[in-house]
């Protein structure tokens, strides 16, 4: 199937099969899932993260300067309900808030050749976040990994099937992006938006891949 589509179970839900990353050759350590600024201008994107200076990582007064993205490794099983971490843990933790190499998630396995890891991803945005968010929220999700032989090819997928029977759609080159949206978003037609609350914070109820 083609974009746009909703990522099944994405966000602060008890879902194991949301994102999948496959490595063609064996890794030597467990890979890490990181979030970084995207400093390039749409539709370009950075080839690797270098800074975490944008509001999505520095937070606002409204969320006590907390990084907004959070992730959990689900390779070894479901994360449980309401798995979102209240705060960042320095270094690696599972789950964790994402902020470059300051706080990140390490997978629970070291994939062999042709093996995959799985993770889930969410975002919690405070009421006073900058609008429009095009610049302040521009980010990349990257996987950091190690290998000792031939360099693996790395392929990313999103699940647009069900948790019980995933249908993995490969991310393809282009101007596609992850959208963090309200509940009941029409993924075929949009609009793709997350409405800020008048106070406190809001979690994206749905995530999807759009053009």
């Amino acid at each position: 199937m083609a974009v746009p589509y909703k990522l099944t179970g994405a966000g602060n839900n008890n879902a194991q099969y949301v994102f999948k990353v496959t490595f063609s050759t064996a890794l030597s350590t467990a890979p890490k899932i990181e979030g970084w600024d995207n400093s390039s201008t749409f539709p370009a994107k950075d080839s690797a993260g270098t800074t975490v200076a944008k509001e999505i990582f520095t937070g606002t007064a409204g969320n006590s300067l907390l990084a907004m993205l959070y992730a959990v490794s689900t390779t070894s099983g479901t994360p449980g309900s309401n798995w979102k971490p209240a705060a960042a843990t320095g270094g690696s933790a599972n789950p964790n808030r994402l902020e470059g190499t300051t706080s990140y998630v390490t997978d629970t396995t070291t994939p062999g050749a042709g093996s995959s890891i799985y993770f889930n991803l969410g975002i919690e945005v405070p009421y006073d976040a900058t609008v429009p968010s095009t610049t302040s929220m521009a980010h990349i999700i990257q996987v950091r990994y190690t290998y000792t032989g031939s360099a693996p090819s790395v392929t990313f997928y999103g699940n647009e099937g069900t948790e019980g029977t995933p249908t993995w759609t490969q991310f393809t080159p282009g101007t596609h992006g992850v959208r963090y949206c309200n509940a009941s978003t029409s993924w075929a037609a949009g609009p793709y938006k997350l409405t800020l609350p008048e106070s406190s914070t809001v979690d994206a109820s749905e995530l999807g891949i759009t053009t």
Binding site: S28, T29, E34, F42, F171, T172, P173, G174
Partner: protein, 147 residues
């Protein structure tokens, strides 16, 4: 690029032609005894002395360790918002050599990134063994060092 010297005078160099492809750490025989391992900088460095320029390739090295390992570190960007999904080639970030001194219960890691920045870290070998037990590190990449 790593360069291995063995107790019998052999040398193994990453990226050299080997059986129709380039030599990697996985090709390092498991029955050799490594006497030292070096990591070269990713680009040459130019020195100027009395107006004369000289280009050299600096190295960092480890020796007299019981075991060694090596890692390539890379990143692949999978998703972004307002920035497109990437299926571009992964980007090599750094190369890492490490030595293990079992009796002192220490692992010394040297990480050399693609800009030439070098960092050294150390941690207990016992903590690395716990990582191996949890499946977070592949023990097969170890190679033997001194007797």
């Amino acid at each position: 690029m790593f360069i291995i010297s063995t107790s019998t005078g052999e040398k193994f160099v990453e990226g050299k032609e080997y059986q129709g492809r380039l030599f990697t750490w996985d090709d390092v025989p498991k029955d050799i005894k490594i006497s030292s391992i070096a990591l070269t900088y990713p680009f040459p460095v130019t020195f100027k002395n009395d107006g004369e320029s000289k280009e050299i390739s600096p190295k960092v090295s480890l020796n007299k360790m019981d075991m060694y390992y090596f890692n390539n570190e890379a990143v692949a960007v999978g998703t972004s918002n307002e920035g497109g999904i990437s299926m571009g080639p992964p980007v090599l970030q750094a190369k890492i050599i490490a030595g293990i001194d079992i009796s002192r219960d220490i692992v010394i890691e040297i990480r050399l990134d693609k800009w030439g920045n070098t960092s050294v870290s150390h941690f207990p070998y016992t903590s690395l063994k716990k990582q191996i037990e949890k499946g977070l590190f592949r023990e097969e990449i170890f190679r033997k060092g001194k007797d």
